[in-house]
């Protein structure tokens, strides 16, 4: 792997100097690709491992403009990498493969690839890839932090209010790792490279980074407005953040919707998730891979997810993608990542879940929480995927009263989250499954009785507390990325496997938070696996309508047990929840899960945010998300129920 530092390129020469990261396990192909790219005058960095690529990307999001990756790689499926990159870093990714099957190409597109090239690649094709960078920039709120460009009349920048001319980096700027982008038509640079540019408040439009806090505000605003009524302008007004443009919000909203949608899909695939949890897929959100977890309701719904959380949203989307066989690093864990989100929510809601793994969950939640005030799990999706969540363990620990959990987890999570890295590094290597793990655990008990269910409730409540998109938490660890993410995810993701009986869940999980944490702790290991999944949560935004409705209300009813069979079968039956509402699960719980590596065992329960009867922990902004989640969960509900029959196979 060659890493080259790039000297500042004159902006005006784009695409010359465009920074490309090339990933291919085949050395011959990689060398040819590198040479071709250099011939196009791009700045090239290569690596033959997807994991390394992710690491590099996470270290500095602004370091690259574009990623080109092979589909078929031994350490990580190219589609998974694709999703992760899209979610965490929002960079254009081009897929490469010797196989041009339409199905594969479709898969690439659905995972978010901006292009799909066949090997051997010709230089003519590479000469045009810069368009993807431009295109993305244009669609993304270019004006993101309207900061800069003061001198240029920002064309179209909406930042009317926001343009703080040059911005003196407000705290928003500080929080966001802005990438300076040329805002308008400044020459042609619209690149994102240039982050290392010069003046901070410079004309380049810094790219808005959705920090956990920012995302939290966003989710809160969305919830307040109601998912179907959430329009960027209103959200923007509610958020009242300086230097944020309507475009920024619009783009973020779009992602959020996708994320929510994915979460609902993920929750369904619990089984896969659980399995997925088992495997240690490094930067995968195991959760995501849990193919089945459709329900990973946007844990992040809690809205507290700061941008990291938000970022994790894409993960959720990815998680969904991860579910695909190719993407599933983890077998059996269906979108656990997503589940986690959902779970987290559910967990929170469920009161008194006997989540056995309070520790784990807590820590994961704690991580997730970083911003929480009360330690509400930022909806980190509890990666339900904990396939082998040690059921019993998890369950028991989760028991803790949510409140307790909250504190603990919250702090834990917060600690973790508050890593110096600001913008959530995305490294969450820890599988978000943590959350799920706990879920999984939770489920176990459930199967045995309502215990498990309770556990979930806790998780749910925790999740809800966070009201975040659980994903972001993971992401957010600000810096903790590798570690936190997974744990965060895990916590949030606490698989709602054990959907405890309705009442359990509704209990309003006092220990929602705690439950989640416990889940996360338990699933710690699984989370670790989920690491790769960590970021998966982000991007769920697509669920356009679902998510926003009544997030709050539904406190995670449906803890969707991530396939792991986490006692799911048992739990499953008990759950009356309508899984439809992942959102209900106040994300909080979920988010935490992401963080907690201990979730390992939980894998698979995705807390399906059923109608939140559970005591939502902090229903803050969850409202819309919850609704969304619940809506999503609903559908899944039945589906999940079926999955649960697996019982604790976690």
């Amino acid at each position: 792997m060659t890493v080259e530092t790039r000297a500042d390129e004159p902006r005006g020469q784009f695409p010359v100097g465009m920074r490309v990261l090339a990933v291919d396990d085949d050395p011959t192909c990689l060398l040819v690709l590198e040479t071709l790219l250099r011939r196009c005058q791009y700045h090239v960095t290569t690596t033959n491992q997807a994991i390394t690529a992710l690491k590099m990307l996470r270290e500095n999001k602004n370091k690259f403009d574009l990623v080109i990756s092979d589909v078929h790689m031994p350490d990580m499926d190219g589609f998974k990498l694709l999703e992760l990159v899209g979610l965490e870093m929002d960079l254009p990714v081009i897929m490469l493969s010797a196989n041009g099957d339409t199905k594969l190409v479709m898969k690439g597109i659905s995972h978010g690839a901006c292009d799909y090239l066949l090997k051997p690649v010709r230089i003519e094709e590479l000469k045009n890839i810069w368009q993807h960078v431009i295109r993305r920039k244009k669609f993304d709120p270019k004006e993101k932090n309207s900061t800069c460009n003061q001198d240029k009349p920002q064309s179209g920048t909406t930042n009317n209010g926001l343009s703080s001319a040059g911005a003196g980096s407000t705290d928003l700027n500080a929080k966001l790792n802005k990438k300076r982008k040329d805002q308008d038509d400044e020459d042609d640079d619209e690149q994102e490279h240039g982050h290392d540019n010069d003046d901070p408040s410079t004309q380049k439009k810094p790219r808005v980074v959705w920090s956990v806090e920012l995302h939290r505000k966003f989710v809160a605003a969305v919830n307040q407005l109601g998912i179907d009524k959430a329009v960027p302008k209103k959200i923007l007004d509610l958020m009242n953040v300086e230097k944020l443009s309507r475009e920024n919000v619009a783009s973020h909203l779009q992602k959020y919707r996708l994320y929510l949608k994915r979460i609902s899909c993920v929750a369904n695939q619990q089984a896969n998730m659980v399995a997925a949890l088992g495997s240690a897929d490094a930067s995968y959100l195991r959760v995501g891979s849990l193919g089945g977890m459709k329900h990973l309701q946007p844990l992040g719904a809690s809205g507290q997810f700061q941008n990291n959380v938000y970022r994790s949203l894409p993960y959720s989307g990815m998680i969904g993608r991860l579910n695909t066989p190719a993407g599933l690093g983890v077998h059996g864990l269906p979108s656990s990542g997503i589940l986690q989100l959902g779970h987290a929510q559910n967990l929170n809601n469920s009161s008194g879940n006997s989540m056995n793994d309070p520790l784990k969950f807590r820590s994961s939640i704690a991580h997730v929480n970083q911003n929480q005030n009360g330690g509400s799990l930022q909806g980190m999706p509890v990666s339900v995927g904990l396939d082998h969540l040690q059921p019993n363990k998890a369950v028991s620990s989760v028991q803790g009263p949510t409140t307790g959990f909250d504190d603990k987890t919250m702090s834990l999570i917060s600690n973790k989250l508050s890593d110096p890295r600001a913008g959530v590094g995305s490294s969450c290597s820890r599988p978000p499954l943590m959350g799920i793990a706990s879920n999984g655990l939770l489920l176990e008990p459930n199967s045995q009785g309502s215990q498990g269910g309770r556990g979930y409730e806790n998780l749910t409540s925790v999740a809800s507390q966070h009201s975040e998109f659980s994903l972001p938490l993971m992401d957010n660890h600000n810096g903790r990325c590798n570690d936190n993410w997974p744990s965060a995810v895990q916590s949030s993701g606490m698989p709602t496997n054990s959907y405890p009986t309705r009442d359990c869940l509704h209990g309003g999980n006092p220990s929602g938070a705690s439950s989640i944490t416990s889940l996360s702790t338990q699933s710690h290991d699984s989370l670790a696996d989920m690491q790769s999944h960590g970021p998966i949560f982000t991007n769920n935004n697509t669920t356009p309508n679902l998510a926003y409705q009544g997030w709050d209300d539904h406190s995670l009813d449906s803890l969707i047990p991530v396939n792991g069979g986490l006692g799911a079968s048992g739990l499953h039956r008990n759950l009356d929840y309508s899984f439809g509402n992942p959102l209900e699960m106040k994300h909080e719980g979920f988010i935490k899960s992401a963080q907690d590596p201990s979730l390992k065992s939980n894998q698979g329960y995705i807390m399906d945010p059923h109608k939140a009867q559970r005591s939502r922990i902090s229903s803050n902004n969850l409202g819309s998300l919850e609704d969304l989640v619940s809506a999503m969960m609903k559908q899944e509900q039945d589906f999940i129920c079926d999955d649960f029959t697996g019982g604790t196979s976690m």
Binding site: D26, P27, T28, T35, L36, H72, A98, P120, I123
Partner: protein, 147 residues
């Protein structure tokens, strides 16, 4: 030492006989003063790296029963690699092999693989000879495209 024309003819015949395809030309185009032996380097790297794949496939073919999915996957990698240097015949054999895999035809796979190995070895010899002549002729010659 072969004359330039002879070297050019050597190369041309490789194309004519379908040993190589346009990708090879592209590689040559990437060769320049800064990178005077690029093509040879790539080919060397290819043979070095793919030998591992070849032996993996060989081992996999000795299993019983055959794991077609795994074979297909290995061959997919091999094909990608081979296509990067423009190894046309080798690539064609890869495709055939994969078809046999998908059909679950063990005999077909084994036969196809034998043929593939032959093509692989033949190409190597021819390229080695070509590079040797080209090197002797000087960097200028090596960088020239045949077509």
């Amino acid at each position: 030492m072969a004359s330039r024309r002879q070297i050019a003819a050597m190369k041309q015949s490789l194309f004519d006989q379908d040993y190589l395809d346009e990708q090879f030309i592209q590689l040559e185009e990437l060769q320049d003063d800064a990178n005077p032996n690029f093509v040879e380097e790539i080919v060397t790297l290819y043979y070095r790296d793919s030998s591992r794949l070849v032996s993996n496939i060989e081992q996999a073919l000795e299993r019983n029963p055959l794991e077609f999915n795994r074979l297909d996957s290995l061959m997919h990698q091999f094909k990608g690699s081979s296509s990067s240097i423009g190894a046309k015949k080798v690539k064609a054999e890869c495709t055939l092999f994969r078809e046999y895999c998908r059909a679950g035809n063990a005999e077909g796979c084994k036969r196809s693989f034998q043929q593939l190995k032959r093509e692989y070895a033949t190409l190597r010899k021819k390229l080695e000879a070509y590079f040797q002549q080209a090197r002797q002729a000087g960097p200028f010659e090596a960088a020239r495209r045949s077509k």
